[in-house]
């Protein structure tokens, strides 16, 4: 990397892959209560896009990435996780007060074999969303801080 980042081919492929990678990450997060994956895996998939972006576009563009919004969203996601857990405090901490309530994600799961319904799970999909945002922001923050600190990035 000589400050310009990788070649034109790598940059174009990164731009083409950006939307599928983010959509797949959001899919893994949103279907965390139905399919393999969940908040952590989906957030890591989304953070992979930030890593791809920084490696392919080099330091000139990547140094303009601000770490402030990622820090704020990381803190907000943690607060949301603990806040959702606290909302069920009438029963216990982490009580699933939305399940079978008919509200958001509150559908009742039909008996027997079914393909899995997105609107079920109660409080679990909301916590998956919070964990996904948290992991995405945290890993992106680590990469941004590491990219900025030390060295000049001109050695390879």
């Amino acid at each position: 990397m000589d400050g310009k980042g990788s070649s034109r081919i790598v940059r174009n492929v990164t731009c083409m892959l950006s939307v599928p990678v983010m959509v797949f990450g959001l899919y893994v997060v949103l279907h965390g209560h139905l399919t393999p994956g969940g908040g952590f895996a989906g957030g890591a998939v989304m953070a992979t896009f930030i890593a791809l972006f920084m490696v392919s576009f080099g330091k000139d563009i990547s140094r303009r990435l601000d770490s402030g919004p990622f820090s704020v969203s990381e803190s907000l996601a943690l607060l949301a996780f603990v806040g959702i857990a606290l909302l069920g405090i009438q029963v216990t901490f982490f009580s699933n007060f939305l399940a079978n309530s008919g509200l958001l994600f509150g559908l009742t799961v039909p008996f027997g074999t079914n393909p899995g319904f997105l609107g079920t799970g109660g409080v679990t999909p909301l916590m998956n969303l919070a964990v996904g945002l948290e992991v995405f922001s945290g890993l992106s923050l680590i990469l941004i801080v590491m990219f900025r600190s030390g060295g000049d990035g001109d050695n390879a």
């Binding site: 990397m1 893994v28 393999p36 994956g37 969940g38 952590f40 895996a41 890591a44 998939v45 953070a47 992979t48 890593a51 791809l52 920084m54 490696v55 890993l139 680590i142 990469l143 590491m146 990219f147 030390g150 060295g151 000049d152 990035g153 001109d154 050695n155 390879a156």
Partner: protein, 85 residues
């Protein structure tokens, strides 16, 4: 069939790419080989019916850690010091 053929191929790929990553003097080649090792590992996790671990391994091992290594190599130097060993 999948346990007799595909799984040994994936595990052999893990061993070969890890040994080659140790052997190379070019750091960028070692990083790419570690990425390949992670992909073989994800394939073997998937064959062993752990798709959850496979997704995490593919995204963390082949994505994030490869990017971290590439950033570190670009900040320190590409060639390993020959007098090191």
């Amino acid at each position: 069939m999948i346990f007799e053929i595909v799984l040994p191929v994936a595990l052999t790929g893990v061993i070969i790419s890890a040994a080659a990553a140790l052997k190379f003097r070019d750091m960028m080649a070692s990083v790419v080989l570690l990425c390949a090792m992670s992909l073989f590992m994800a394939a073997s996790f998937y064959i062993l019916q752990a798709p959850d671990v496979a997704i995490a391994e593919a995204s963390i091992g082949a994505g994030i850690s490869t990017a971290v290594y590439v950033i570190a190599v670009s900040k320190t130097g590409r060639r390993e010091d020959e007098k090191g060993d």
